[in-house]
Amino acid sequence: MSLISTLARLEAVSTGRAQPAATVRHRHLGDRPLVFVPLTTAGEAGAPLGALVGTDRDAPRLLAVPQPRDRDLRFAFLAELADVVLPYVDSYADAVEAAERTETDPETGKRVKVEVDLCADAPQLIVPSRAGIDLVRLLGRSMRFRRTAEQDPEAPYPAPPRVPLLGRWLTHFGERARVPGSSLLLAMTDVLGRHWVTGQSTLEDQHLGALLAWIDPPQGVTGAEAALRAELERDAQGQLTCPPAGPATDPAFDNKLLAPAIERYDRARTALSAAEDGLEADDRLGALSAAEREIRDLVLSRTRPTWDAVWRGLDLLRELPEGARVEERWTRDRWSFTGHRDRVLAGEPPQPRRDDAVTAANKLATREREQARLEAQEALDDPLVMAGRRLSGEAFAGEVTDVVMAYSEGKRPSPRPLVTVRTDDRPYLGERTKVYRSLGGKPQSAEFVADEEDGALVVLRILDKMGRGKEPEPGSVPEKGDRICFTLFEHEQRGGAKLPDPEETPWTHGGPPGEAALEAADPVTEEDVL
C-alpha cells in the first residue's frame, strides 16, 4: 500500500466516509452482468445450500438445496444453475466480429496473420466476495469430470446432461479471475476496494456490508457507525441483520434456523415415503413442500441482502467514468472467452486437474505480464494512481522550461531535441535512464541527460515518434510551457522468451506430456458432498 492510500485511509477515519482510491473505473462492467450469490453448508467441501442468480436485479432466480447431503437434490441444484448460466454464456457466443491473430504457420514456421472470429462481447460473472471466486472454481472442479448417462451408461451416479459443461465454464471463469486486470469474473469486495479506501483495515474490507457502509453510509450516520452495525447488529432472534456475503453462513443461523428446518424437511420426507394410501400421501406431500418452502425462504432471507448489496456496488461503480485502457483489457477477456468457446465446440476434453509444464509456465508468464500491464495502464489512466508512482520515484511530472534542437550524428541526422523539465518530483534517474510519455496513446521514449539545480530541472533527450524527416513532425516534440508526465516504467509489455512446444518439453520439466489421456471422473462414493 502506498503512502497516498494510507493517507486516504486516515482521512476516511477522520471524515467518516470512504475516500477515492481512483478517479476512473479500472474494471470493465458489462451491460448485463450475471450476479451469483451462493451459499454453502458449513463443514462440507463447498456443498451448495442455495444461491441467488440472474441478470435482472428485480427478479433473481432462487435455487435451494433442502437437504445438502442428498446427491439427487445437489444434482438438481447444479442442473438448475446450468439452466441459468449456460444460456447466458451462449448468448454471447454467436455475435462475432472479424479479427486478426498472428499464428505460426505449421509448414513454413513463419509468423502469419490469420483471420479469425472474435466474440463481440463476453459474459461477465459477479460474485460478492473473494471466497465466492474460490467457490466458483471449486464448483467447476467438482463438475467438469462428471459423466452423464449419455457419455457413460455405466456411471453409477450419472450427472444431469449439462452439468459437466457448466463445470468447464466455471473452471474457465475461475482460472481467468487469476489474471490481473481481467473482468470475466469479479468479486465485488475486490472491485470496490480498488476504487475506494475506507477507515478500516483491508481485512475488515472483506465484509461487503461494512465496505458499502463506508462508501455510501445512510443519511446522518458516519461510515464507521454504519460499518459496525453491518458487522455486528443482530435482531431479536440473535440473527445478523446484515448476513455475511457468503458462501459461508453465520453459525448462529445454521444452528438456530437452518438445522431445525432441515430436520423438519427430513421428517416430512420420511413420513411421505411411509405413507400407506394416496390420501395420506397427498397430505404428507403438502407437508413436505411446506418444509421445502421454509428452507427456500431461509436461503432467500440470507442471500437477498447480499444480492441487493452487489447491485448497489455496481451502481456506485458505474458512476465512475471508465478508464481509457479498460476497453483494451476487456478485449483480452473477449479473446479468452472466444478461445474457450472454440475449445468446447471442438470437443476438446475438460481442463486437466494439473497443468503440464508448458501450460503452467505460460499461465505464470501471462499473469506476470498482465500484472505489469495493469500497473502501467492504471497509472496512465488515472492521475491518482500516477501520483503514487510519482511519490515512489517511478514517474515525474512538470513544466517544460526549455527546448533545444539537436541532431543525432551519422549519415542521416535525425532530430534528437533536448527538453528541460522543471519538476518537484524526485525520480530515480541514472545515466541514460529511459523514460516514457504517452503521445496520442503511444509511448514516446526519451533518455535522461543531466539534472540541474539539485534535481529540480531534468534534461531529457527525445528519441522517437518524431517522423522520418529531418524536422520533427508538428506536435511530436513538447513545447515550452507544456505540462508533461514521464514514467520510468514501460507502457507496453513485451512477452517473454518463447517457450518450447509441449512435445519439446525438456526432461527437467517432466519431458513431453505424451498422449493426452482422458482424465477419469472422480470416483463416486455413497457419502460424497459435492
Binding site: 500500500m1 486516504a8 477515519v13 458449513a42 467441501a45 483495515s201 453465520d250 445454521d254 511519490l391
Partner: protein
Amino acid sequence: MPPPRTRGTALRHRLAELRGPDVPAKALDARALAALAANPGCARRAILDGAGVNKAALASALGSPSAFGQSQFALTRGNAFEAKVKADGGAELLRLVHEKLDRSAEPPVEARVPDLTATGPRGRTARTELELREATAHPGAWTLLDHPMLALDVAGSPAFLEPDAVVVHPDGSWTVVEIKSFPLLDGSADPAKVGAAARQAAVYVLALEELAARLGAEPEGGTARLGAEPEGDAAPLGAEPEGGTARLGAEPEGGAARLGVEPEGGAARLGAEPEGGTAPLGEEGDARADGTGVPVPRVRHRVLLVCPRDFSNLPAASAVDIRKQRAVTARQLARLTRIEDVADALPEGTCFSPELPAEALAAAVESVPATYAPECLSACELAFHCRTRSRQEGAVTSLGRPVRAELGGLTTVEDVLAAARGEAGDPDDPAVAALRRAAALRAEALEAACR
C-alpha cells in the same frame, strides 16, 4: 537454586485471584496455545489466557461479545469423518501412517489400541503416559492411541491437550495425527487451514517431547526426580533441555556418572532456561542414546494430516513438517512465563470475573496493555473490545500493521493528519516530509480529476 515450587504456588494463587473467586479456570487447548503465536506481544491476552479467564464470557460482560461460533453441521461432519478414519481399530489410519511416514517398517497388521478411558484429565494423562511407556518399552509393534491426553505446563498451570491420535511406530518413535474435515483437493489443501493444523500439531509435539524426556530419564533412578520436575513452574520448556542434559550426563559412564548427575543437572538447567525453544531442535538427531542407556523415545517432527479426499468422505493423508511451527510455539510458550511480570505490574485487587459490573471490568482490562491489530479479529474473543478502544485512541495500527509501519513515529490518526497538513511535526523528519509530499500529490491528482 530458588525454590521453584513456592514461587509457582504463589503465581498460581495470584492467577486464581485474577480469575475471581469460585470461577473455574478455562483450560487452555491446543488451538488457544497456537493462537498465542499470532500476537505474542499482547500482555492482555497473555495474562488472561495464563490465568484461565474465559475470554468469551469476559467479552460479553464488557458489552462487545465475540463472534466466534461453530456450526453444528461442521461439527457433525468432522466427527463422522474422524470416526470413519479410525474405524476397524484404526486399520486405515495406520496404513496411512505406514505409507506416508515409515515405509521401511513392518506394515501394520495387528496393532494395539489400548483403552485410555479414565476419570478426569489427570487420570487420563496418567493412563496415556502408562500406555506410551508400555508401547515404547516393547518395540516391534504398532500402537494407536485414540484421543490420548497430554499435559503441558503453561506458565505454572497444566494445560490438558487431546490430540486426535498418537501412533507409536515399531521403532519406538511417536507420531502425532491430526484429522481435519477440510478437503485435500487434487493433492493440495487450503494453506491457511493447513497452517493452523500444523501449529496445533506443534503444541502436541511439544507436550509429547516433554513426556518423552521424562520417560527416557526415568529408569535411571536418580535422574527420575530431575525428570519429574518439569512441573517446575517457571519454565515449562526449560524442562526439556534439562531432560536432555540429564540423559547425556547419565549415559556414557553409567554408575559413576550418576553421582555427578544431580549438581550437573541443576547447573545445566539454569543455563538451559533462557534458550528455551531452540535447544530441543538439536535433540532429534541424537534421540537414541549410544550404548547402554535407555533410549529417549523420538517424537517425529513430521505429523500426519488426514483429510477427506476431493469431494468424497475417503481419507487422504499427507505428512506435514512442523519443525518451524514447533520452534515458534516453543519460543512463544517460553515467553509466556513472563506473565509473572505482567501479574506483578497489576494493581492490587484486579479481578476479571465476568460477574463484576462492566465499568469495573473495563478498568481491570484497561490496566493491562494490549497490542491490537486487525488480525486479532480472527483469533481472539476480546478483539472487538480492543478494537473499539484502539479506534477511540485513534491508533493507526487499527488500520493494519503495514499502515503503522509506514508512518514512523506517528502513531495516532490526528498526529498523522496534522503532520500531513503541515500543522505539526518536524519537516526534517523523513516520515513527515514524505507525508506532506504524499498529501500534496494526492490533492493535485484529485483536483486534476475534478476539472
